[in-house]
């Protein structure tokens, strides 16, 4: 084999947040038709499960791609502190004027996490519920709804 062996570290985090799917570019009727019950004016919430994957060399001194305490503190600061027990529409500036679907949430969280210095963000995966999950790797969007 002349190909390289690649190692990634995966870590899961959880946060609970509310959202309402509503586009200001659509009429009330259109919003209801497109988003259905997700358009309920008072919103609703989910227990999101965020899975992040980072790659990099294993530091021989620590055996780690990234020290978990560094990673946990970073994700806490970049995502959990701002998203957990918040309204995505009202409390997260990125969703002013943008529908907080989990597709858009993936892209926003990826943007925040790719600034991590110690390892390379490969992709993120978000479970909106046990039945709906979304994945984003930066260049292209891969979503699966099951």
């Amino acid at each position: 084999m002349n190909s390289a062996l690649k190692i990634e570290l995966g870590r899961r985090y959880r946060f609970a947040a509310s959202h309402r799917l509503h586009s200001p570019h659509l009429s009330e009727d259109e919003n209801f038709r497109v988003f259905g019950k997700c358009n309920n004016p008072h919103g609703h919430g989910h227990n999101y499960v965020l899975e992040v994957s980072f790659s990099g060399g294993i530091d021989p001194a620590t055996g780690m791609i990234v020290n978990l305490s560094d990673l946990d503190a970073f994700v806490q600061r970049q995502v959990l502190d701002e998203f957990d027990h918040r309204s995505l529409n009202d409390d997260v500036a990125a969703f002013r004027g943008k529908v907080p679907t989990t597709e858009n949430l993936c892209m926003e969280i990826f943007r925040r996490l790719k600034t991590f210095h110690h390892a390379t963000l490969e992709r993120i995966h978000i479970e909106e519920t046990g039945k709906n999950s979304f994945e984003y790797a930066g260049d292209h969007l891969e979503g699966d709804r099951t």
């Binding site: 190692i7 995966g10 294993i58 305490s69």
Partner: protein
Amino acid sequence: MVLLTRKIEFSASHLYHNPNLSAEENRQIFGKCNNPHGHGHNYTLEVTVAGEPHPVTGMVLDLKELKEILEREVMQRMDHRHLNYEVPELAGQIPTCENIARVIWNLLEPRITRGKLHRVRLYESPDLFADCYRTGANGAGK
């Protein structure tokens, strides 16, 4: 190409300690994982093999064969063992999820002769895991 995955679980103890670092540095870097008496996990290993189903059997490889390989290479080496002291392949390495996954990859890759080892995923807990796979010309990629 079809991917086939088998899951096994094993329990083992470990601790993180680098003898080249001071006691204080070890504590600072590894935190509670540096406890000298170690601690343990229930590891879950997912082994994925890629290949074309055989025209007669319809199998990429016989799951019984994969089960035996995993029993011999992983379970007998690691289950109910102390990873720092009882697994020679990990000697001199910190037994992190990343290093254990790499050791398991290296143990399994030459043993899988039907199909090709595609990915090893090792969960140390439901919220922490390492993936190992090949990239490039001969790699399965991702």
